[in-house]
């Protein structure tokens, strides 16, 4: 047979790795045919709603549900009293703490769950919530984390009385959660004692919230006859939720089915377990009918999973010519009323110890102290790997502060201290092994693209014009260079509730050569159905359009740890490639038998095996698939499928160089992003269109965080502005135009060299915006300006600089 289609054409026809392939998912979403949790309607389904505390800290004196229970249409009202005999009034958190499911005697944050009303529909449930009578005795609230460890600070967690040890070692105060220390204190202190130049700054990263457009929701359905529980929910990690549901309810794990259908964005908000899930399950078990719970937006912003709230004191020691000698950091971490951080078990502050950033810093020392306050629990990784955005923000602000002290250009200081390409794999002072990087090349490419030197000259001219009174605008140039640490993670280091953070893929080729594959992860908009198929297409030579990807149903998908911390591509993507290679190895044996050659005499060619030296003697994967189900091959099982559980040998370390140019009106405090350039290196690029989309979205979340987002509390612990009226989510008008660019430095240990990208733009974006604001004022001696940089706070900085006189 003569070859009429070229190798390149065959390759392109697969729509594999590197293809800007249109998304498989779109077909249902553009028709309004997505399948989100709240779309689910089951016969007899009831609706649950919470009674919540108006107080931040109070004792419950009386709780009377009788009027609510008597309302027609109300089927049950749960309180701590009902949950206690089941030992479910508290639930374990991922951080080794416990969290009240329904408040037991005391409330510890405003909007805390006090009772759960179950009714025929959501309107009746809302009516019944109003009828529950609760008498509170207010207690002094603890809002300021800096006051948490004072001798006279109020005792928040009475349930922990007498517990000198927490999940992460000794607690030294009743409001202390943990102390986490990394690095060489003695050596670091010694370097600081004799360093020619040092800087020190308190850099706060405010409390914020992931706020996916779809709030958290679930439907619990207990089949009492079969003894089976089905739980649909907005779960980024459905398999872990099933294990937790089984352990808490006592229902054997094979009788619990968890289904995460389409998810309307997650960004870390949908990793953990929330009281709404527990209460829905209990109500369904009690009542024997399905129970739905859907948060409203105010509940979402004020109760489920805040992010950040890190107060970071960072010191850098350097030589006079700008070589960094040491880094010393103390973090005060405000965890709210319960430590519900979603971090791998051994990392109470996540991977914050990547805080030496992209720089070759010889020694470092880090201490993180977690404290309880009367605020909502959480501490999730909002579009970042665990606490990596806090670390990157801190070190990137500190670099600018050091540059200012040295009178050096911030980009130049970075170039001087980068980990050099030849130093990889690089062992950081705080213990991480960076897999690969070409930092100087990325930085120089970014500087060239934006015309960095020209921008600095323009800034100098504008500052002079400002001084002459010719303009009221200040120009800021924000430079940020970040290194992420994603893809948790090696099972030896990383687990969630004791389950190692591997991930998995299962691929089955049907007789006709069409494929179904399932993974342990769960897309929330990242486009897994499209990109995993591209990996398989390239590995197996099958058209991506013939590959169906499924995730999210624990009854069909292999066990996996889910999607967060940019781990899908690094871990499940690796599992997918390895799984496909298992199949290809078997296919090679089948082809060898049928072509009557030794398997070592075959070579892979895009979509087929061919006999070395006899290029016309080939067998395509499609032909092999048919043969696998049709022709007996000695010593080989029929069929063509495989499963792979992948334990990554290391994390992956995506990086990037971002530059933001901003113009600030000092009289209104408004900041306008004139230009934003983002260079990302995420290793091998599976679908550039999706990567660029991820970067756009992450940068938009970053501009929201840096320029206005905050979950703030007043002195009484009232949460201020937990609605979209006050909580800043950028619209199309506030969102700048994004310029994306890339370099490619493959991960040496990932089967296809991919590193993950979804969170990089948030990690790198926030410091770029904040550095731009700070840079605009850098010559005016106002010092570090804290986020969020809303118009009022920027105006205040201008006021401090004396610009309104």
């Amino acid at each position: 047979m003569t070859e009429t289609v070229s190798r390149e054409q065959r390759e392109a026809g697969l729509k594999g790795v590197g293809c800007r392939r249109r998304r498989t998912e779109d077909a249902r979403f553009i028709r309004g045919k997505g399948n989100y949790v709240d779309d689910l309607k089951l016969p007899g389904m009831l609706f649950g709603d919470f009674v919540r505390s108006p107080h931040a800290h109070a004792r419950i004196r009386r709780l009377d549900v009788s009027k609510a229970a008597a309302l027609p249409g109300v089927r049950a009202v749960l309180t701590a009293a009902e949950l206690k005999p089941l030992n479910l009034h508290y639930m374990p958190t991922l951080a080794g703490d416990v969290q009240a499911v329904l408040a037991d005697e005391k409330v510890l944050f405003q909007n805390q769950e006090v009772a759960f009303v179950v009714a025929d529909d959501r309107y009746v449930a809302a009516d019944a919530v109003e009828l529950v009578e609760v008498e509170y005795e207010p207690l002094p609230p603890l809002v300021d984390p800096f006051r948490a460890l004072a001798d006279d600070a109020p005792v928040l967690r009475e349930d922990l009385a007498g517990k000198a040890d927490g999940a992460h070692g000794a607690r030294r105060h009743h409001n202390h959660v943990f102390s986490w220390e990394v690095g060489d204190k003695e050596r670091t202190d010694a370097v600081f004692a004799s360093a020619p130049v040092t800087v020190k700054e308190l850099i706060s990263y405010q409390r914020t919230h992931p706020a996916p457009l779809e709030t958290c929701a679930c439907v619990a359905s207990m089949d009492k006859v079969k003894g089976e529980l089905t739980l649909w929910g907005t779960f980024q990690a459905p398999h872990v939720i099933r294990t937790v549901a089984s352990l808490l309810s006592g229902i054997p794990e094979h009788k619990v089915r968890v289904i995460a259908p389409d998810i309307g964005g997650g960004f870390g908000n949908k990793v953990g377990a929330y009281p709404g899930y527990i209460c829905s399950v209990v109500a369904s078990i009690v009542l024997g009918v399905p129970v739905k719970w859907v948060e409203d937006r105010m509940e979402n912003l004020s109760t489920t999973s805040f992010a950040r709230d890190y107060h970071m004191t960072c010191e850098l020691a350097a030589t006079e010519d700008g070589r960094i000698l040491a880094q010393r950091v103390h973090v005060l971490a405000d965890h709210g009323a319960f430590d519900a951080c979603a971090d791998p078990t051994k990392y109470p502050a996540g991977f914050f110890s990547v805080c030496t950033g992209s720089y070759d810093i010889p020694t470092a020392h880090l201490v993180v102290d977690g404290v309880y306050t009367n605020k909502a629990p959480g501490g999730v990784a909002y579009r970042c790997s665990f606490r990596v955005t806090e670390a990157a923000y801190m070190v990137e602000r500190a670099m600018d502060i050091l540059a200012g002290k040295l009178g050096m250009d911030p980009a130049e200081l970075r170039l001087r201290n980068f980990i050099k390409p030849e130093q990889f794999p690089y062992r950081s002072a705080l213990g991480w092994e960076y897999d690969s990087g070409e930092y100087p090349a990325a930085m120089r490419k970014a500087m060239g693209a934006v015309g960095y030197g020209g921008l600095r000259r323009e800034q100098a001219e504008r500052r002079a014009a400002f001084a002459r009174g010719e303009t009221r605008e200040l120009m800021g140039i924000g430079v940020a260079f970040f290194t992420e640490i994603v893809g948790a993670g090696p099972v030896k280091n990383c687990d969630i509730l004791g389950i190692g953070m591997f991930d998995s893929a299962e691929i089955r080729i049907h007789p006709t050569g069409a494929v179904i594959a399932r993974m342990g992860t769960k897309s929330q908009g990242q486009g897994h159905e499209t990109t995993y198929a591209q990996i398989i297409a390239s590995e197996l030579g099958i058209d991506a359009d013939l590959i169906t990807i499924e995730e999210g149903d624990t009854s069909t998908a292999p066990y996996g740890l889910g999607t967060y911390g940019s781990r899908s591509t690094p871990v499940a993507g690796a599992a997918t490639a390895m799984c496909a290679r298992k199949i290809r190895a078997k296919a090679q044996m089948i082809a060898a038998h049928l072509l009557e050659v030794h398997h070592n005499d075959l070579e892979w060619d895009v979509d087929r095996f061919r006999v070395k030296g006899l290029p016309e003697k080939t067998m395509t994967m499609k032909e092999i698939a048919w043969a696998a189900y049709h022709t007996p091959v000695p010593n080989i099982e029929p069929g063509l499928e495989a499963v792979n559980y992948y334990d990554p040998p290391n994390m992956t370390y995506p990086f990037g160089a971002y530059v933001c140019v901003m113009d600030i009106d000092v009289d209104t405090g408004t900041a306008k992003v004139r230009r934003f350039y983002a260079l990302d290196d995420c290793g091998t690029r599976i679908n550039p269109m999706i990567i660029e989309g991820q970067v756009h979205g992450g940068l938009t979340e970053a501009v929201g965080i840096a320029m206005g987002q905050e979950i703030a509390y007043d002195e009484l612990g009232n949460v201020k502005g937990a609605s979209l009226l006050d909580f800043f989510l950028p619209t199309a008008v506030e969102t700048p135009v994004w310029e994306t660019d890339y370099t490619v430095t493959p991960s040496p240990h990932h089967p296809i060299g991919a590193k993950g990208v979804g969170e990089s733009p948030n990690v790198g974006g926030v410091p770029a915006f904040s550095n731009a604001v700070n840079d605009a004022f850098a010559h005016l001696g106002v010092g570090h300006i804290q986020m969020p940089h809303d118009a009022w706070r920027i105006w205040m900085a201008a006021e401090r600089a004396g610009l309104h006189r």
């Binding site: 779109d26 457009l213 779809e214 908009g525 979209l724 199309a732 994004w738």
Partner: protein
């Protein structure tokens, strides 16, 4: 609670539903009529996930009572494609330009863009950004949504928009 009938036209189909006075339009669409394409993201008119077209205007169905829609003609995302299933240019554009990720804002965004293009068939980028500023998206950063709407506007006018999604 007492109910009353409400009569309206949804996606060209005449419907009668029994609703309470307080039933929200979005719940009528989603729960009584099973049109779950229209989503709820905030219940306070800020996010626009519940946007539908009511008598030729974009409205947020989470803050209208169903009874306020008495006699109205409503278009939801399910009514955008032609009866034979042919997609509207906006639906094609959103997919071609990667104007969606999680899909949750997409129905409201599409229905809003549909009205925007009725009001202004050839909007500038600035006009598109203003025109969709009542609809929040947490995934895309809007850049490709804007491009998708430009693509659709061009297509509806018989022009071609050459740029790829970026």
């Amino acid at each position: 609670m007492a109910t009353r009938p409400v009569t309206l036209t949804v996606n060209g189909r005449s419907v009668i539903a029994e609703v309470e006075d307080r039933t929200l339009l979005v719940h009528l669409l989603r729960e009584h009529l099973g049109l779950t394409g229209t989503h709820i993201g905030c219940e306070t008119s800020h996010c626009g996930a519940c946007t539908v077209d009511l008598d030729g205007r974009s409205v947020k169905s989470c803050t209208l009572f169903a009874v306020q829609a008495e006699g109205a003609e409503i278009l939801t995302v399910e009514g955008l494609a032609a009866p034979d299933g042919t997609l509207h240019a906006l639906q094609e554009g959103f997919s071609a330009m990667h104007g969606l990720q999680c899909g949750f804002c997409t129905p409201g965004m599409l229905v809003r863009a549909y009205r925007l293009l009725q009001e202004n068939p050839d909007p500038s980028e600035e006009e598109i950004r203003r025109g969709i500023s009542g609809n929040l998206c947490r995934c895309t950063g809007y850049q490709n949504i804007v491009k998708a709407i430009r693509w659709a506007a061009a297509t509806l006018q018989g022009r071609e928009l050459a740029e790829a999604a970026e």
